[in-house]
Symmetry: C2
Subunit: 177 residues, 2 copies
């Protein structure tokens, strides 16, 4: 999956500049492209070459020129084709689980400490995600699937938190009992 399709998705709502897109990517964890200018700007150039977006240069009375991009018919068709394609299963990178493959070599207190620190990190992450969700303006249009996607993203991290708490409890019980 390349960033191009997500850009087409955003442009299907409204015309935007590269900078606008950059902010949208930076403000969303689900859209993992982390809002670096290095990706949105070249991607727009490529989409334009493919005829999927049209560029309008706005020269405001003062300040730098703004390049506003809008979806073309070809762009809308490409977006639709992509939406219909079967998505790959999720890809997960889970550093803690990799640690745990060899963490039996640590002493019980070291293990407990490791898991406690991880839970803290996870909590911080969840706080950020909830704040991110809160900041998102309520949309005028009802989009059930979009909302389901956003809820699911949060749920994955909440399930992770529940799991780590359970594991810590089990470990404490095994040690203390």
């Amino acid at each position: 999956m390349t960033i191009e399709f997500a850009i087409l998705g955003f442009l299907s709502y409204e015309p935007l500049t590269g900078y606008d897109l950059k902010k949208r990517f930076a403000g969303s964890d689900l859209l993992h492209w982390s809002g670096n200018s290095n990706q949105s700007y070249p991607a727009l150039v490529a989409l334009r070459q493919a005829g999927q977006v049209a560029q309008t240069v706005e020269q405001p009375p003062r300040g730098p020129a703004r390049k506003v991009y809008a979806l073309t018919e070809a762009g809308r068709a490409a977006l639709r084709e992509w939406l219909l394609a079967t998505p790959d299963p999720p890809t997960l990178r889970h550093p803690l689980l990799v640690h745990l493959l060899w963490a039996d070599q640590l002493t019980p207190p070291e293990q407990a400490d490791l898991l406690a620190r991880y839970e803290e990190e996870l909590n911080i992450r969840l706080l950020m995600l909830r704040e991110q969700a809160r900041r998102q303006p309520a949309e005028q249009a009802v989009r059930p699937l979009r909302e389901a996607a956003q809820r699911r993203w949060l749920a994955v991290f909440e399930e992770e938190l529940a799991w780590i708490r359970e594991l810590r409890a089990e470990l404490a019980a095994a040690e203390g009992g």
Copy 2:
């Protein structure tokens, strides 16, 4: 997280060749480095330069030379240091959720079909994961955390399957009702 630490982890059990490591990575989804010679061989060279592994060249009566790598004391210390460090939260790439952000543009039958195809893909993935888990030989030593990690990896995909089934049911109910 680089592949080096996982290599140190494997070598903490027994000396291995680059080829052995390659197979171990290829056979594990949790260890996301997908068993390409491009990573294990250069990583071993780097680890050796860092003094964390020692190389022994075995020249069998017939056939190519085997380079067997064993953990050094410095390697064991590096592994321990890494194990004690706080792991980053998981990184998730979820193409379906990205689709869903814009899938409200599709017709209900198209949406239903997309989710059905995704569930099929997920099922295949789960079958492979279970098969992978089954193939793993029972270890002599009891390693509770290692087992917890492997169970958790499977559980994440099982939770995903449960979620997609629920979402499909909701969608069908909304349409049918």
